[in-house]
Symmetry: C2
Subunit: 142 residues, 2 copies
């Protein structure tokens, strides 16, 4: 099954990156401004257009979500963020796994994830991020 | 074999997008400023860090390159740009196919391709693109 893969390097500690993935303030800061729910291990996060169950959360190392509600193509897929400290930065190895088919929407989501991971980088490095609804647009009418 | 997929929508005709993929001026404008070689069908384009042979070029519809020299992980991979006009814009369905393994460098390239496709969009919509060496940086030291 095809996966979306990305990597960004952030001038911030793994602790700060982990916090931005596991707190409402963090998630609201770089992905979806209206995020609610419980971003801790075992909780379910409500991003509005989708809900993610937190199935793994190893402090400062790994966060993994399973999509339990949302776009049909997303339900059952998993999103993971592996954090690796090297070369004086925290690298995020990102994966959105288990898509059934490489549909056009998957192409769209791949590009969109890149912009959100850079938004996360910008949040931590400069405080100037672009979460939805101020997200980077990637097509006319996005 | 894993692929990198992306999609952007551009407020420009398929003709203009195709031209930006098949001329030196176009390629220099959004990807690599120092591009040389022959970007026409059957030609080989020299992007400095890699060389791509143009194996398919269907006017205003499709461009496909094969990497014939460059990073070890890239040699033999194929990069394609399918152009689709819908909803008053040209969508590029991008694929960098035939990676042997989903190595960390593939994660990096996936994010980087997203920034370059948005650079192409910006070139055609506003004239303000960011080709290498003025590319969007995605990690410390990029």
């Amino acid at each position: 099954m095809p996966d979306i893969l990305h990597r960004v390097g952030i001038n911030a500690s793994p602790e700060r990156v982990f916090k931005s993935l596991t707190t409402l303030d963090g998630l609201r800061g770089w992905w979806i401004s209206e995020t609610t729910g419980d971003p801790g291990l075992g909780g379910t996060i409500d991003f509005g257009f989708c809900q993610m169950k937190v199935v793994e959360a190893i402090p400062d190392q790994l966060v993994r979500w399973r999509c339990v509600q949302g776009p049909e193509e997303w339900v059952g897929t998993e999103v993971s963020f592996a954090l690796i400290w090297k070369n004086e930065q925290t690298f995020i190895l990102f994966k959105h796994a288990n898509w059934k088919e490489p549909v056009e929407f998957m192409h769209h989501c791949s590009t969109k994830w890149a912009t959100f991971l850079l938004s996360l980088r910008d949040l931590l490095e400069t405080g100037r991020a672009h979460p939805t609804p101020n997200d980077i647009k990637i097509h006319v009418g996005d």
